[in-house]
């Protein structure tokens, strides 16, 4: 956290009046004061849960139940992290999460550009109608399908495997199709024309001409698919039976139900779960920010 934000959370905790803000920021343009104040307060509110998580992760069990709660842990109990990782089958859950996320991201990376290409770079009768249907499927909440899907997968013998979650990722997702389609539509038609003149068929055009240009968009799809897969809860809950196959999401929750995990360990584990996503964000911030806004501005 920056100095400004640290100061903000401490001050927010002590609820000082607004006059101090004026002295603190006496160099800034007055008209930014209001929005800055709102931003800092909101940032503090958004970061409060993580401050709670981080401090709890470092507290001893006794300190967890001291009243009033301490904002800074009395000592840094690093052992919470190693205990959490050893007491809970963290490694197993983590590897399962990685496998699931990789499989789903791979499926998204392969299928969505392919499908979106068909909906954008080729003009065929009924295309827009069918695309309307693709978008309409967004209105079908996943829970509507879970009973039937469970029964279908049970009959296929896919329960207790990763297949019910990974395989559908290879068949497209309306959001990602939309995203890729927006991108493809932005590419000039002349590129495809040139490729056609050179004798390439449609698939070759897709693979060797269009796709290389689409790397940033595909990266966005992969990142969003991976982030969503990392947090998947309902699907693994339905389809996985074996503790050895649980990803972090349901693994941690079931472990809590069966073995009673103390809150400091739970927060240490949560910190470890959150870190990879934070690192991913720091590394690829631009992709996240741009990906979020693609195409959604023009209603």
């Amino acid at each position: 956290m920056t100095v400004a934000q640290k100061e903000a959370s401490r001050l927010a905790a002590r609820r000082r009046p607004a006059r101090r803000w004026g002295r603190f920021f006496n160099k800034t343009v007055p008209e930014s004061l209001g929005p800055r104040l709102i931003l800092i307060v909101m940032c503090a509110l958004f970061l409060l849960p993580f401050w709670s998580m981080a401090t709890a992760a470092f507290k001893t069990t006794q300190e967890l139940s001291t009243f009033p709660p301490t904002f800074f842990p009395l000592g840094l109990e690093w052992s919470n992290f190693s205990t959490a990782v050893n007491y809970i089958p963290f490694g197993t859950f983590f590897i399962n999460s990685v496998i699931l996320t990789t499989g789903i991201a791979l499926g998204a990376a392969i299928s969505n550009p392919l499908i979106a290409y068909g909906f954008s770079r080729i003009n065929w009768p009924g295309r827009d109608v069918l695309f309307g249907i693709v978008m309409a499927t967004i209105f079908i909440p996943f829970p509507v399908l879970i009973v039937a899907l469970f029964d279908i997968f049970a009959k296929l013998g896919w329960i207790n495997t990763f297949l019910p979650m990974i395989v559908p990722a290879f068949f497209g997702n309306p959001f990602f199709i939309f995203l890729m389609r927006q991108f493809f539509r932005g590419l000039p038609g002349e590129i495809s024309e040139a490729a056609r003149i050179d004798g390439a068929n449609e698939f070759q055009t897709f693979l060797y001409v269009i796709l290389p240009l689409a790397r940033p968009a595909v990266a966005v799809v992969v990142i969003f698919a991976a982030v969503a897969a990392w947090g998947e809860f309902l699907a693994p809950l339905l389809y996985l039976q074996d503790e050895a196959k649980y990803p972090l999401s349901i693994g941690l929750q079931f472990y809590r139900q069966e073995h009673a995990v103390s809150y400091n360990l739970l927060m240490a584990a949560s910190t470890l779960i959150v870190l990879p996503v934070v690192a991913l964000f720091i590394a690829f911030q631009r992709f996240f920010i741009e990906g979020v806004t693609v195409g959604s501005v023009k209603g």
């Binding site: 809970i88 074996d242 690192a279």
Partner: protein
């Protein structure tokens, strides 16, 4: 994206962080099966029990594996509870279920009716009937056939913290001496009110909360002399006037007198879901009285061996009322689609038989269901004798094909009463209607 570019470094940053987070996670959740004799086939055993009871089960499993030449058992802890076997049913449905499952005995009829369990007569279980106490065996059968082997049982009583009561200035504890019969609810209420203590406007010690731990609807319903099931009419009667009275006194009014929100806040703070046993508020000094079962003796021995506590009958409405309690307990079953049912049955005979029950009783202070063990007083040191003596007069829950559903309905009504969001009469009437609708197709019962 070459390694030398900034993007390459960012990707490595992610990779390193991922590896760091995975560090130290060499833990295997599926430990290799040690202690298996060669030539044995695997059988899986699922239980939703938590420590310390699950630790004892593990000891039994290990002992079984040592002496068996045909079967080796792997024990798996799964989420679940007395009435929740979602994990089991989904697993059985998809062919990934266990060979043996620890099922709450009063739900055996319901699960057998749903087609989840194997009929054990095919393995000769009928021959074991005479080993078990009658009410336990009755609970384990459906339409005359055995679907489970009874495991443990238990009774409920009231525990109290001598130290907390004395600190609150209560010097005369003779009313709580079992030799003087059960205390009255009013007596307990007076003592409990002295123990209540608030800090900063919120409770940090409460004398008595009748509905937590084992202070269930069944408990107070039986204590007030109510009847939950009308056999001749084949209908459940949760709205029996005595049960309604029990709800009104011990749930609705008691909650109001403590302050509905205040007591709920206390429970949320000191007894949230999935809390470890060591932090139980009675053990940690935040509750003066609690209704619970004989297994608490085992918990005390494990976590707080120097606790100054006492045990007595569950309090009764009027002086001179007979004390009442009910016996519950678990059982072992073989679910459908078990891959190694024979091995499972061999294990069941062991764990639900004399060897397993003996170990479990000694380690956890539950009560066995095997007749010969019940008369072995060496198994019941100290306060456990009190619980054993209650057994002969203990009630048991009606084993209905809708037992689990009925329990959940009673619990919903209990919750509404405790929170004062519904009057007990109305809530229990609703429970009666819903349960009887589900019960009807099974009438008349065997």
């Amino acid at each position: 994206m070459s390694l030398l570019s900034w993007r390459g470094w960012k990707a490595s940053l992610v990779f390193v962080s991922v590896v760091l987070a995975a560090c130290g996670g060499g833990n295997q959740s599926a430990a290799p099966l040690a202690g298996c004799n060669s030539g044995t086939t695997l059988a899986t055993f699922w239980t939703s029990h938590t420590p310390p009871d699950s630790d004892s089960l593990k000891h039994i499993v290990d002992a079984f594996n040592k002496q068996s030449t045909a079967t080796c058992v792997k024990m798996v802890q799964v989420p679940g509870s007395e009435t929740d076997i979602a994990k089991l049913t989904t697993a059985v449905r998809s062919g990934t279920g266990p060979d043996v499952y620890m099922l709450d005995r009063f739900t055996v009829a319901e699960r057998a009716a749903a087609g989840v369990l194997e009929d054990l007569s095919q393995y000769g279980a009928q021959d074991l009937a005479s080993n078990y106490v009658d009410f336990a065996w009755a609970e384990a059968t459906f339409k005359g056939k055995p679907y489970a082997l009874p495991f443990d049982t238990d009774t409920r009583a009231m525990y109290y913290r001598k130290d907390l009561l004395q600190a609150a200035g209560i010097t005369d504890l003779s009313a709580l001496d079992p030799a003087n019969g059960p205390p009255t609810i009013d007596t307990v209420r007076a003592m409990a009110n002295k123990v209540n203590h608030k800090t900063g406007g919120a409770y940090d010690v409460v004398g008595f909360i009748p509905w937590i731990n084992q202070g269930w609807h069944y408990t107070w319903g039986f204590v007030y002399g109510g009847s939950f099931f009308d056999k001749s009419g084949c209908k459940v009667t949760p709205n029996d006037p005595k049960i309604v009275q029990a709800y009104t006194d011990m749930f609705t009014n008691w909650s109001k007198s403590l302050g509905v929100d205040a007591v709920q806040t206390f429970i949320s703070s000191y007894s949230p879901p999935n809390q470890p046993t060591q932090q139980d508020p009675f053990l940690t000094g935040h509750l003066g009285f609690v209704i619970s079962g004989d297994w608490v003796l085992g918990q005390i021995a494990t976590y707080t061996p120097n606790l100054k506590y006492g045990v007595t009958y569950i309090p009764v409405p009027k002086k001179g009322d007979q004390p009442a309690t009910w016996a519950g307990g678990w059982s072992d079953v073989i679910p459908k689609n078990a891959k190694n049912a024979k091995g499972g049955y061999e294990f069941m005979k062991y764990i639900a038989g004399e060897p397993g029950q003996r170990v479990y009783t000694k380690e956890t202070q539950h009560t066995p269901t095997i007749k010969s063990l019940q008369s072995d007083s060496s198994l019941f040191p100290g306060d456990h004798q009190f619980f054993i003596k209650q057994l002969s007069a203990a009630h048991s829950r009606p084993p209905l094909p809708v037992g689990a559903f009925y329990w959940d309905q009673l619990s919903t009504a209990q919750d509404a009463a405790v929170r004062n969001t519904a009057a007990p009469q109305a809530a229990l009437d609703a429970a009666a209607t819903a349960t009887n609708a589900k019960l009807q197709p099974f009438c008349p019962l065997a």
